[in-house]
């Protein structure tokens, strides 16, 4: 009945933040954008949030008015990344608690596929685990060492936990990814593109997809005509583009509420 979506909301504020989608719906309804049935227009606006209530005051949450303002401020031009928007309160590497965490954020990356199509990704990185360079295995952002610069490795920390001692610290976490393409994908192809985005998470966030993580990937295809005969080139390219967006999120982040960003850690060294 409603194969199209008209907006997509990524937000902080934990489950309270889902309420902000009402502001996007208000904006779209005013412009007549939505699922039309006789005299009603229902904008379809999926929403996903991160848990960031451990940063600053847990009482400060984005609501419909903030989302409406964001719609008014929307632009086709370059947008801000790092510790802004849904990425404001994002942190990564929380295995040893938020005291040792590193600042996450929102990032983006884009690439060309098959000569003509563009695949772009946005990632809001609030992972329980680390952001890892997919080509070196190096932890780029994770639980900070207490005895000097650099990070511990969350996979090693978790694997070496003693069974009796498993009382893991850290807030509930999530990596949110949106992967979008101008290729004219059908519904099934768009669905498998969302699955390919999870492969990008697996490469750049380690560990990811834990029970403590609410990892979500959305896929959007803007193409309105034509069809893609073979979606595999897009599926092959998407994980690397998603991984690059995840790296961008921590590279662009800035320190907040005592949680340092890697750009600031590098400056301090």
């Amino acid at each position: 009945m409603a194969p199209d979506i008209h907006g997509l909301l990524l937000s902080g504020g934990s489950a309270f933040g889902l309420d902000a989608a009402a502001g996007v719906m208000r904006y779209l309804e005013e412009r007549g954008i939505g699922f039309k049935l006789r005299d009603v227009v229902v904008p379809i606006v999926p929403a996903a949030i991160i848990f960031d209530l451990g940063m600053g005051s847990g009482k400060v949450r984005p609501g419909p008015d903030q989302a409406y303002e964001a719609c008014l401020a929307a632009t086709d031009n370059t947008f801000q990344r790092g510790s802004v928007g849904a990425g404001t309160g994002a942190t990564v590497g929380k295995v040893l608690g938020i005291e040792s965490a590193t600042k996450g954020g929102v990032g983006t990356a884009s690439g060309k596929v098959a000569g003509s199509w563009t695949v772009s990704a946005i990632a809001v990185v609030n992972a329980y685990g680390d952001v890892v360079h997919p080509h070196t295995g190096q932890v780029l952002a994770g639980p900070r060492r207490k005895d000097g610069p650099g990070f511990q490795n969350s996979v090693e920390l978790l694997s070496s936990q003693v069974q009796q001692d498993l009382d893991l610290a850290g807030d509930p976490s999530t990596t949110l990814v949106v992967v979008a393409t101008d290729a004219p994908l059908n519904r099934e192809q768009t669905g498998v593109l969302a699955k390919a985005a999870h492969n990008g998470m697996a490469r750049a966030v380690q560990p990811c997809h834990l029970m403590r993580d609410g990892d979500v990937a959305f896929a959007l295809a803007t193409g309105r005509s034509g069809q893609v005969r073979d979606v595999d080139p897009l599926l092959a390219a998407a994980p690397g583009i998603v991984a690059a967006a995840i790296l961008d999120a921590v590279y662009q982040a800035t320190s907040l509420f005592g949680v340092p960003a890697i750009a600031d850690l590098a400056r301090a060294e």
Copy 2:
């Protein structure tokens, strides 16, 4: 009704190979192992296969008798890996056709988690894409260069395909993974462990999960008592162990029907 499984079959022979599960069921029924209801015993034997009919004669397929023989030969000791069993006809890096592919196979790896639990994985690697070292991004086994030693990069080959020219070569492909642990997991925890295995595929097989791939992961928990309060350490460790099993498959492989294994390519250099 049937939460337990009594056997698991991985086989070559494409969909014909699924028939071999009947041999495992025969073996188990003779020993009274199965789902018991009054005077019947039904062994529950999930099965998964790879498409390897492009290697040697497509008419040679394993059947119930071969699977029954395999059950009789089963051992608790070290078992053969590489180009044996379900891995016999496995190949990887088929983007340029099977003429350029490299030999796949069956591999295994194991690790300790949380001091007391073991996580082990078996992988049958018959991927369309490449086997990639998860810490270096290096293609370990993929489509072989025509102009010298080494491999091309399938993700790059696929991404740079021109849209009009998308007529990809290569047989249907699959990576089969079984991840097993002695940790006493419940049904839900065992399910998420299977998902974690897919993260290991994403790290070591690139691209994976294409429409041309029938990638499958099974998870088994042998623990009969107790419970795991927190499954996240197992989920954190599993992808690395699965990735190591995938690498083992191509390291252990031997050349067959003109498709060279990397061990033989290294010797030839």
